[in-house]
Symmetry: C2
Subunit: 340 residues, 2 copies
């Protein structure tokens, strides 16, 4: 079967959402699979990534990447196989991970490849999660921005998620006490039982302040903030002197237009000589190989465990981001589009 | 005249304020001047310091120093002369700066001495301002926390004040563009004319956002924040990628109980990979000598200019802090209690 006779299903952006993208903002269309141009490769996707950051990629507001155009294929990392190559460095059968979009087939320049996968000890899907942007986010956010020291208390929100669970486990590797915040008893049990957190707090159970006091009796040295909102407000009054707050995501904020109000942070930062710092993993690209070497070693040794939440088929893609924000996933959310 | 026959006028804390301390929270009393105990020195104060941070020193809420007790002499740095010594390292006539309080005479252990003044090229009062906590605050806050690089835009609020004016001048020495925010045309003119800021913004003139856009067309790399509040909210949406916000004071916030609300900062920090960091100059004590060497060199060379706002007599002390928050001072506020 030649590439041109293949159908390429694509999920395209139909309308620009205000806030969190829902199923109705996307459309599943069918086109003919592309042919690779000179210098390009043709990739057949096996797994597509779903991330909270996708909310930013489809919003029109100035952000750290150009918005996906209306009618364009949804931007996404994906993992798959090269099935045709017109570039001398790649050949059919190579496993690759890169910016291939929410579709079956992608004809792309090799600059779209993020990782060429040569370490087959770890399954392909992991390169979109614990060895992908999620693990890299945890690695650079915690180690570079949070700078945890042995014996310190590291608190992370959305702790059962793909970033949060990795943050907690790296914190443990660094000799810290790891405390997670997650929604519901299933996720908190996962934090302590599967990921080895010292304690986990169910923010949906109410009485968050008392739960934080019990789990972090000496206060918090590093707060890896994936949520913002009421959870962060409760955490900020419990920072220790010299604390670092790593701003990684704002999952609890549905809309930043207009900016929601919250208690001012300056007094906490001043009295505690504390720091809040935002970061974006894409700024650390030059150091991805170093981080992936560490992460793949830790995964291979079993020191970092990871969990996947796999949706079947491209038709599950349009609602997949909204589902993340509804908190329905357990682990890294992926979409499986082909099986070998 | 023996010390015991001298009258010692003292300003004591009469009632604990909510928010900014006013004249009625203090009382001027008269006692007999103390005698130095073994190991102590007796200091006759010449200048007393008045600082915005004093608000925190008299508030009951947990802060970075123990609150001044009701009935206690108001804590303050002061500069004066040793008039009697029962410590082998000091003798009458030595000029000293230290924690001597709002009073005429202080009998203190030598640990209360912050600086022994041996450089008489610079007048005594300067050791409470540009060579005292104000200059040190500017030095460590800008250089250590703000980390300005040549060519960057450094913005400072309360720019005509003793800290702000020093921040702007150090920024210029470091090769930065310095922009000040101050209240009223007199202070903004002082910023550009006396202190060499590249531009100054009168926040009381209205249209702060447009004024910021005009003065900082490429955005702000370092914001030295002495105010919090509406000024900071306008600044935060104009940060450049990688910006540093130095949280030094919160002059525009009258009361932190309950915490006032403001627009959430997380999105700015995330999109701009920016940092907000609180700091307290007292944490840098080990490095004061290094900073004072630099500052006194700059002052002596005329590269850093400073201005003083001197109130006459201890009776002006009770209202002096409130006056700072009313913005009535031009330069470092001091109280002169004795003249040689």
């Amino acid at each position: 079967m030649s590439a041109s006779s293949r159908i390429n299903r694509q999920v395209v952006l139909k309308a620009r959402p205000q806030g969190i993208p829902q199923a109705e903002h996307f459309e599943l269309i069918e086109t003919a699979a592309p042919e690779p141009a000179e210098g390009q490769i043709l990739v057949r996707n096996e797994f597509l990534s779903v991330e909270p950051a996708m909310r930013g990629w489809v919003n029109a507001a100035a952000n750290y990447s150009e918005p996906v155009p209306i009618g364009g294929v949804m931007r996404s990392l994906a993992a798959g196989q090269v099935i045709a190559s017109r570039h001398p460095d790649y050949r059919a059968g190579d496993a690759v991970c890169g910016w291939f979009g929410w579709q079956d087939y992608a004809a792309v320049p090799v600059s779209a490849v993020d990782t060429r996968i040569t370490d087959d000890r770890i399954r392909l899907s992991a390169w979109l999660g614990v060895l992908g942007l999620n693990g890299l986010t945890a690695y650079f956010g915690l180690l570079d921005v949070g700078q945890p020291k042995p014996g310190e208390t590291v608190l992370v929100s959305t702790a059962a998620g793909s970033v949060g669970s990795c943050v907690g486990q790296i914190a443990k590797l660094m000799g810290c006490r790891a405390v997670g915040i997650a929604g519901g008893p299933v996720k908190t049990a996962q934090c302590t039982d599967a990921f080895g957190f010292d304690a986990a707090i169910d923010y949906k159970a109410g009485n968050l302040e008392a739960a934080l006091d019990a789990a972090c009796p000496e206060g918090i040295d590093v707060y890896f903030d994936n949520t913002s909102g009421a959870i962060s407000d409760a955490v900020l009054s419990r920072l220790r002197v010299g604390a670092r707050v790593v701003i990684c995501g704002t999952a609890s904020i549905g809309n930043w237009d207009p900016f929601p109000q919250g208690p001012r942070v300056e007094r906490h930062l001043l009295v505690k000589r504390a720091r809040m710092q935002g970061f974006i993993v894409l700024d650390y690209q030059a150091r991805y190989p170093q981080a992936r070497a560490a992460l793949s070693h830790w995964v291979h040794e079993g020191w970092i465990r990871h969990q996947e939440d796999i949706l079947e088929g491209l038709e599950s893609a349009p609602d997949a981001i909204a589902g993340l924000y509804r908190g329905e996933n357990l682990g890294k959310r992926l979409i499986r589009v082909h099986q070998d």
